[in-house]
Amino acid sequence: MRNLALSDEILLSVDKAARYIGGEVNSIMKDPGTVDIRFAMCFPDVYEIGMSNLGMMILYDMFNARKDVWCERVFSPWSDLDQLMRQQKIPLFALESQEPVRNFDFLGITLGYEMCYTNVLQVLDLSGIPLIAKDRKEGPFVIGGGACAYNPEPLADFFDLFYIGEGETVYDELFDLYKEWKDQGLSREEFLYRASRVPGIYVPSLYKVTYAEDGTIGSFHPVREGVPEKVEKQLVISMDKGYHRIQAPVVPFIKATQDRVTLEIQRGCIRGCRFCQAGMIYRPTRERKVEELMSSAMEMLKNTGHEEISLSSLSSSDYTDLPRLVQFLIDECRERCINISLPSLRIDAFALDVMSKVQDVKKSSLTFAPEAGSQRLRDVINKGLTEEVILRGASDAFHGGWNRVKLYFMLGLPTETEEDIKGIAHLSEKIAETYYDEIPKSERQGKIQITVSTSFFVPKPFTPFQWAPMYREEDFIEKARITKNEIRSQKNQKCIRYNWHEPDVTILEGFLARGDRRCGKVILSAYKKGALYDAWTENFRFPLWKEAMAENDIDLDFYTIRERRKDEILPWDFIDAGVRREFLWREWERALSCQVTPNCRAACQGCGARRYETGVCFE
């Protein structure tokens, strides 16, 4: 039987001890004597969240397919265990072997969202790894990847290297390089130098940034010959050959956020919404073959025993063979009593038909994400969803028996006016009226229930809005107030619920998303002051961050509310993410003049991603 890193006393005193014991079905055990590379793969949040991250699990499975690598999992200990580990000086360990992370060859950290940055420091700290990369003389190389690696600069001080792009492609090369380096017994610097020449790898210590007088970046260059000026994102070219298909996903003992089989049907999105980072950085859209998906679905269901399967993609409705895939799943799953969950479906006749087959209409709700309240603003963000389409979809759904609607909007989008904001209330009201106009009293299943949720907009790197100013906290609050008041003055206001969150988390997210290297000091100070689990509202303490900014002479507004110039060097400009800067700028200008841009299937816009020679660009 495996030994555990934590004593019974500790495991019996913390919440959900099963987070820390490993040994789940399909987790991978190896004999450490038979491998050359020990890789600790970390998602810096609590187990249940981390285990729901598909990207991390693909890499886990793929690395372990190599005989010479043992990849294990690491998550952030929850606050209760965090305290005990610090008090009793227990080093952070990986779940499978229960051995300390600091004895591994690599610590890979998935950066899924900005609010996990203090947890990155927690993981390093508890592992006993120096927080600052240049202080490391031994121990694992710390490598970052994931969506936030597209602007790695705020974390540059803490990482030895970053991987830009989809992990499936060049890790093999990196591992081979590592083995060679280890055999030759060379310096850490030498490994990093060699790694920096692998496409997609960014070694921050090999680049130097200078700043202009106005605080913007003056120059950004490699400091050593042979280190590339630009780091090119890597992506899976062929979804048939290059895609790593997981056969047997790990099945957590405790309920993870995604307690189901996740079937990734495609990467990327053809739509080109201007606020959406995923829609830009994962270009071009690449679909997996439907036959492949069918067999993969059945295989994963069989090997996990999950009672639910969910399709994963940015926009499922755009998947070409969706009807065939869904029909197959409905047939197979009905027999086995397996639930099907279909997120990100655009509401239309097909979607309603499918939904009525896979869920209980009376208990489920319709989800629309118009994102902006007025047609004008929807054109600005290139969200091709019109009021007409929404109302038609809603009307069809009401006839089909639905009476719950969820609406998602963003506040603080570029060029937003008070009228646009009020549009949120007006659209909600029209949906309510559609229900009462179209459904005779005798057929109504009670009142209509509309839930409106707004989030605050954060401009992200590699989107047309990367130059856009954000708003101040008080502006956001005012916008939410206008939304609320307008909703409250509608005729059917009693049927409309309105949710919004405090804007302070958004402000910090905006700061970190477009931050530069200087922001690293702020993250470090905030962590030292006790900031941790910032993604968890109940833990988030903005005052700590404000203190940290003040102490490090960092002006929040410079990063958030400032509009960037066309010729400004942005912190992430050294990354070639496929979409070209000129395309993004053109889209920014079109946004300002409310011009919509057709999606990839309707008309290619020459964004730059075509050079990967795959996916939608070649359909």
């Binding site: 495991l11 079905v25 996990t304 025993g305």
Partner: protein, 237 residues
């Protein structure tokens, strides 16, 4: 057809709580591709019931659940299929067919359970404790404070201790375990410590459940039979 499955839960998986253990078996049954029966409705669930929840941190070599199958299968095949999809620390020890219907559910049958309680290092009771077992049991009553929904209540647990003896440095005990008189081994051990004039430190007891019994006799003169012994042995169906 209704079956009763006996299983172990040892090692690290003892930290997986009762609800998660149920989820674990629901998924295991699917992995084993057993023809499980489901309740109707939009989110059907497997018809499965566990004999008695096991606390977090407690090991067992005698746990049970009952489940309903749509088709008949030989018991040894069910056992093999399940064992092939188990994780470390969980083994299927037996599978028996049991009577259909609600009356005979594992949970409603539970009357007693055996436990082996050992002491974590450095937390043993005062020396000579073996000799005090007799006097401890000869007490007129053994009172403990039980927390109920309405508040604290004093209960005499002496009648619920069916046996209590030393076994290789540990304590073996058979305790009442029906829902009306469920007696926790920690509570019995703690009152033994107090009888010895000492107070157990936190996390003193390492507990392993050994078996769960039904009562085939009467309340006054019970005859305990393990839950598996009530099933039909393999080969009959």
């Amino acid at each position: 057809m209704k079956i009763r499955v006996k299983f172990t839960k040892e090692g690290p998986i003892r930290f997986v709580g009762h609800l998660d253990t149920m989820r674990y078996f629901q998924k295991a049954v699917r992995r084993a591709d057993l023809p499980a029966a489901f309740s109707g409705g939009f989110s059907p669930h497997m018809i499965m019931s566990f004999a008695s929840p096991l606390g977090v941190g407690i090991e067992s070599i005698g746990e049970y659940f009952d489940m309903e199958l749509k088709d008949s299968l030989p018991a040894h095949e069910i056992m093999d299929r399940l064992n092939r999809v188990m994780t470390d620390g969980v083994r299927i020890l037996s599978v028996f067919q049991v009577e259909d219907g609600k009356a005979g559910t594992a949970m409603s049958l539970v009357a007693a359970a055996d436990y082996l309680v050992s002491f974590r290092e450095g937390k043993e009771p005062p020396a000579g404790w073996q000799e005090k077992i007799g006097p401890f049991l000869s007490q007129e009553e053994i009172l403990i404070i039980k927390e109920t929904k309405k508040g604290e209540k004093q209960v005499d647990i002496r009648p619920f201790i069916y046996s209590f003896e030393e076994r290789e440095g540990s304590l073996f005990m058979k305790l009442a375990s029906a829902s009306s008189n469920f007696t926790r081994p920690e509570a019995v051990c703690a009152s033994f410590f107090r009888f010895l004039g000492s107070e157990p430190l936190p996390f003193t007891f390492f507990i392993k459940r050994l078996e769960i019994y039904a009562n085939k006799g009467t309340d006054e003169s019970p005859v305990f039979a393990s839950l598996e012994s009530l099933g039909q042995p393999d080969g009959i169906f």
